[in-house]
Amino acid sequence: MTQLLPAAFSPGLVLIVAGILAALAPRMGRNLLGVAGVAIGFIHLLSYGNAPVGEALHFAQSSAMGFEFTGIRIDRLSVIFAIIFHIAAMLNVIYGWQHATRIEASMGLIYAGAAIGGALAGDLLTLFVYWELAALSSVFIVWAGGGHAAFKAGMRYLVIQVSSGLLLLAGIAVHIGQGNGIAFEAFSLTQADGSANAAAWLILVSFGIKAAFPFLHTWLQDSYPKASAVGAVMLSAFTTKLAVYTLARGFAGTDILIPIGAAMTAFPVFFALIENDLRRVLAYSLNNQLGFMVCAIGIGTPLALNGAAAHAFVHIIYKALLFMSMGAVMVRVGTTKATELGGLHKSMPWTTVFCIVGAMSISAFPLFSGFVAKSMITLAAAEAHLLFAYLVLLFASAGVLEHSGIKIPYFAFFAHDNFAPSVTGRARPKEAPAPMMIAMGIAAFLCVGIGIQPQYLFALLPFEAEYHAYTLDHVVTQMQLLLFAILAFALLVKFRLYPAEIRSTNLDVDWFWRVPGRIGLMAAVRGTAAGWRRIWGGLRRLAGGTVRSLYATHGPEGGLARTWPVGYTALTTAVVLAVALLAVFFAR
C-alpha cells in the first residue's frame, strides 16, 4: 500500500500536530481538526500494512550519538494497540463535541498521539519521550476538571507520573551501561549469573506505576473521577493500556506478574463495593480489569498474550462507554454519587441502554465483547494449571459483575427514584446531548459487534493460538457464574443485606502520603526553614559583628578616621624627635 505520509512520520505525530493546532482553533475548528487528525493518523497507520506474526517492520531509523533509533516498529503487538488508541481518540472527539474545553480538546489529541507514538516506538529513548509526553498532556485534562480538589489531584498525578518517567530513564541508562543497545525488546529480571538485573527492575517499576500495580495504583482512583465528564473518558483509555502494551513487550512470561495481576483483580472489588462516587467505582473497576491483563502477561503463553491484547482492545471500548454514560449523568445532574442518583432510566433511556451494554460487556456476558477476550485469559490460566490464579480470576469475575455490571447501572438508573417531579418539584433531567449519544452508540455497537463477530478482532491478535470463544462449555460455565451471582445480588437486596450507599470518603493507601506523609513533609519543611533561619541568623550576627567592629575603627567616628589636629601633629613630632634624641644619646 502506498504511504499517505512519509513513513518516518509516526501516526502519533499526526494527532499531536492536530492537537497543537486545535489549541488555537474555535470549537468547530477543534472538532474538525480532531476528526481529520484521527482519521489521517488511522489511514496512515493502515498504510504501513500489518506485519506477519513474529516479524516486525522498522521505519524512521536513524543513528545519533552512538544510539540506533527506531521511531516506528510495525508488528502485530504494536499495531493492535495503535488501532484501538485511534478508535478511542475518535470516540473522545465525538463525545466532547459540545462539552470539551479548549484545553481538553487539544490535550486529548496530544495525549492520544503520545500513546500511539509510544505503542509504535521501537527503541527505549523514543518510548521515554512519548511516555513523558503522555504524562504531561494528560495532567492538563485532570486540571481541566476544575476546582481545588482537581488541582491537587493533578499535582499528585503529575508527581507520580513523572516519577515513572524518571525510573524509566534511570532503567534505560543502566541498561545502556550494561552494554546493551536501546532497542525495546524483552527484559530479564535476572542476569546470566543469577543476580538481579537492576535495569529491568527499574523499568518494571516504571511500567508498574502506570499500569497501577497494587500500592502504586492510587493516582488512578484519585485523579480520574476529578476530571470533567469528557476528561475522564479521555483518561480512561491511554496511560494504563500503554503500560499494558509495554509490559507485554518487555516482560511477557515474567512469573511475578501472575500474583501481581491476581492481586490487582481482587482487591479493587472490595473498594468498589463501598465507594459512593460511581466514577471512582469505575476507576477501581479499571484497576481490576488491568489485573486480568497483567496476569495474562505473566502467564506469557501465546494464548495468554493474545488474551491480554484482546482484553485491552475490548476493555478500552466498554470502559470508555461506561465512563461516557456516567459523564452524561454528570452533565445532566452534576454529580455521579450513588446517593444522589437513581431512577434516571425514566428520562435517560438511551443512556441507560448504552450503560447496560457496557456493563454486560465488562461482566463478560456471551454475545458481548468482554466474553470473547476474558475467557481467553481464564482459559490460558487453566491450561497452564495455575489453580490459584484461576480461582482468583473467577472470584474477580464475580466482583466485576458486582461493581460494574450491577452497581453502576442499578444505582444510577434504577434503585431509588431521586428525580420524581413529585419529590423534587422540578422536571426530570433530560436525555444526554446528541454528540454524547452518538459516541455512546458507536461504542455500544462495537461492544456487541465484537461479541457477535469476534473473528475480526481475532485476526488482529499478535500470536498464533487455537481458540474458539463460543463453545458450549464456555457459554454454560460463564452463564452459571453470572446468573448465580445475580441471584446472590437479588437475594441480598431482598433480605436487605446489600449495603446502602453512604456519602463518604473511603481511604486507600494514598492516605499514607496524603495525611501522615503530608504532616511529615510539612514538618520537614518547617524544620528546614527553622534550621536555615538559625544558620542564616548566626551568619548575620557574625557578619554584623565584624561590620560593627570594622565600623568602630574605620567608620566616620572610628579611631582611624579622625581628622588629626595640628597640636597632635606637633606632639607626635616632638615624641619622634625625643625618641630619635634618646636613641642617638644611647648609641653614642
Binding site: G145, G147, K152, I274, K346, H416, F484, P499
Partner: protein, 118 residues
C-alpha cells in the same frame, strides 16, 4: 426493582411494577436452573473440559459465582469500619460540591501557600 414508598403511582416505570419484578425473579431463577442443568447434561455427555479436580463438579461455576458475590458483599461492607471517613475528609467541603464541567473555575491557592503565610 426497588421500593418507592414516596413517589406517585404514575411516576413508576414498568421496571418498578410488582408484576415486572415478579417476572424478573421468575426469569432469573429459571435461567439459573436451566444453566445448572445444562452443566450436568454437558458433563454427562463429556463435553465439559475440566482442567483441575475441583471444576469437574458440573455446577462448580454456579457455586463460585454465588459464593464469591455473597462473600464480596457481606465481607466487603465491613471495610467501611476501617476505611470510611466523612465527605471532604481530604480536601474540605468544596471538593464535594456538584460541578459544572464547562465552568471556568478561578485559580485557587493551595494549602501549602496559606500555611507558608501562617
Amino acid at each position: 426493582m426497588s421500593e418507592h414508598p414516596h413517589i406517585r403511582d404514575d411516576e413508576r416505570s414498568v421496571f418498578e411494577r410488582p408484576g415486572t419484578i415478579k417476572l424478573i425473579w421468575i426469569v432469573l431463577i429459571a435461567g439459573c436452573v436451566a444453566f445448572a442443568a445444562a452443566g450436568f447434561w454437558l458433563a454427562a455427555e463429556h463435553m465439559m473440559h475440566p482442567h483441575f479436580e475441583i471444576d469437574k463438579f458440573p455446577a462448580f461455576y454456579a457455586v463460585v459465582g454465588f459464593v464469591s458475590f455473597a462473600f464480596i458483599v457481606l465481607a466487603g461492607q465491613h471495610l467501611r469500619r476501617i476505611l470510611m471517613r466523612p465527605e471532604g475528609y481530604y480536601d474540605g467541603a468544596e471538593a464535594e460540591l456538584p460541578r459544572n464541567p464547562v465552568a471556568e473555575d478561578e485559580v485557587v491557592v493551595t494549602d501549602m501557600d496559606t500555611e507558608d503565610e501562617a
